[in-house]
């Protein structure tokens, strides 16, 4: 298991000790998960949901929503009516 690669994808920084510790624990858990291979699932459909859910659609109408002032309330980095984030390009 490439713990560094996984951590990079997950956007989590790990120090050397954490890498060792998590790798060991994760391997132990994954070993248990591999017992699923014993189950014959030929012709079994995956259950993404437990009960039958029918798609619901609605008209695309403009409705009152939260005030911009409220939406921005929980963010530390805002400018005018926008969230401010790190440079992407």
């Amino acid at each position: 298991m490439d713990i560094e690669k996984v951590a990079k994808i997950a956007r989590i920084n790990l120090d050397e000790n954490e890498k060792k510790e998590f790798e060991k624990e994760l391997k132990e858990v994954l070993k248990i998960f591999s017992e699923l291979e014993e189950v014959n699932t030929t012709n079994v459909e995956p259950a993404f949901n437990v009960i039958r859910i029918i798609n619901i659609s609605r008209k695309d109408e403009v409705k009152p929503s939260l005030r911009i002032k409220d939406v921005l309330k929980n963010s530390k980095h805002t400018e005018k009516n926008y969230f401010k984030g790190p440079r992407i390009i």
Binding site: I12, E35, P46, I51, P86
Partner: protein, 463 residues
């Protein structure tokens, strides 16, 4: 005092919520010092004079459910200063019925835990023995009820057993409804296809009352398909007498196997036998895929939670640090600082099992095994009306016993609760006995949307 009596007194004008609620909050504040069941206590609750079904009742809410203007952390440092600007649908429904939100209960971070020891803030203590776990992840929700005789209603949430487990450890009733019966709008997701908001109370009637208020379809949650119903009629004495006679209780042999404490088995079996005196029949049944439920559950739950938690990156809400470096560096620094150890562990595992090359092996396979587990239950419900088993394989463990368990061993403690949760079935914990002063729970599991049936069984016997 019981909720029923409290409601009667409010109705008669013998209790004035505007005077009683501040007294109750004060008592909760004091008790909280010893049992740490609240992350946030609402010291100035909005006391309405609405005459609904919860008129004047103090209600506590698990901290993963959004309450407008009242801090909501989901038990995580990454949401330490999050104040929702809207109410979850169930909070709105409770307030419309006159319920008064008095506090937000402590929990494992994002619901990640069986013992409520993965907490960024308060670690709740079991009122029956403060050296023992309250159970997770809705630990605070159960402790708030068990620590006093105040007439509280407690709203909790379960993904893989987070209502049943703490209810069992703390000796209260805990109802997890069918997936979809209660709107999840405003719930901070753990695992979308598994999360269910439910009710804890001191009786089956309390749970029935709470469910009657929160259940029902909501246009803000596309997975909500619930009907509105008065569930209290299922715990009515006359209804119970007529209903239980002739019913068949299925006892799955796999739930009494290795790993389940002998005394727990004995107490639960004796409790099940009591239903025979009400005219019910007991039938041993088998759920052959039980063995794989734990792995299938954790694979699905971790895969879904790792995607859900990707929204916490220091932008729109939650912890934010100084913006430095590129996007990846900034997001990583916020997440590394904000998430606790168990959250990181689950994000890493969930990310791994969704990676190219592993997705089919783990995630897709688990979804197929889940299908087989659902079919197991469906076949069982052709032969019986409800299933009964122990809720947890043991009584609440001591904190120092939990410390020595590896993550894999901790996950294995969910063995009896994950399968019905994976199948989205309704279930209720009923406190039926004690071992050395510690509560033991009977788990009653019903078919989809058979909340009335399990409530009727739960309310049939006074323990």
């Amino acid at each position: 005092m019981r909720i029923k009596e409290y409601l009667r007194k409010v109705e008669k004008g013998e209790i004035l919520p505007s005077k009683e609620i501040p007294r109750i909050v004060e008592k909760l504040d004091k008790l909280n010092e010893k049992y740490s069941c609240f992350i946030t206590l609402n010291k100035n609750p909005r006391i309405t004079s609405k005459k609904g079904r919860l008129r004047g009742i103090p209600v506590v809410i698990k901290d993963c459910i959004c309450t407008k203007g009242l801090r909501t952390t989901s038990g995580s440092k990454i949401l330490e200063n999050y104040f929702p600007v809207f109410n979850a649908t169930i909070v709105k429904r409770i307030e419309e019925e006159g319920g008064i939100i008095v506090g937000k209960t402590s929990m494992d971070e994002f619901g990640f835990g069986t013992f409520c020891t993965n907490c960024a803030f308060n670690l709740p203590k079991n009122p029956h023995d403060i050296t023992r776990s309250a159970g997770g992840s809705s630990g605070g929700a159960a402790v708030a009820l068990a620590m006093s005789d105040l007439p509280l209603l407690s709203i909790a949430e379960s993904t893989g057993g987070s209502i049943s487990c703490p209810a069992s450890f703390c000796g209260v009733y805990g109802l997890t409804p069918t997936y979809g019966l209660v709107s999840r709008y405003g719930l901070i997701d753990y695992s979308n296809s598994l999360d269910k908001i439910g009710v804890m109370g001191k009786s089956a009637w309390d749970c029935a009352l709470g469910l009657s208020v929160i259940a029902g379809k909501d246009s803000n949650d596309q997975t909500s398909i619930g009907e509105e119903k008065d569930y209290t009629r299922f715990v009515n004495k006359k209804y119970i007498e007529k209903n239980i006679s002739g019913k068949i209780i299925g006892v799955p042999k796999e739930y009494f196997g290795k790993g389940v404490d002998k005394q727990v088995k004995k107490i639960v079996m004796n409790a099940i036998k009591k239903y025979e005196s009400l005219g019910a029949k007991i039938k041993e049944i088998s759920l052959p895929y039980t063995k794989y439920a734990l792995s299938a559950y954790y694979v699905i739950a971790l895969a879904e939670s790792s995607t859900n938690l990707s929204k916490f990156c220091g932008l729109r809400y939650g912890l934010a640090t100084e913006i430095k470096g590129n996007a990846d560096e900034y997001f990583s620094s916020v997440r590394t600082k904000g998430f606790g150890k168990e959250a990181k562990r689950r994000i890493l595992l969930g990310t791994y099992i969704r990676m190219k090359g592993y997705r089919n092996k783990y995630y897709l396979k688990a979804l197929k095994v889940r299908k087989l587990i659902i079919e197991d239950f469906k076949k069982a419900f052709e032969k019986c009306n409800v299933l009964m088993a122990p809720t947890m394989p043991f009584i609440a463990p001591k904190f120092n016993e939990i410390k020595s368990l590896t993550p894999a061993q901790q996950y294995a403690s969910d063995i009896l609760t994950v399968a019905p949760n994976l199948a989205g079935l309704p279930m209720i914990n009923v406190p039926v006995g004690k071992i050395n002063g510690m509560p033991v729970g009977l788990h009653i599991i019903g078919n989809h949307f058979e909340e009335g049936e399990i409530l009727s069984f739960a309310g049939a016997i006074k323990w």
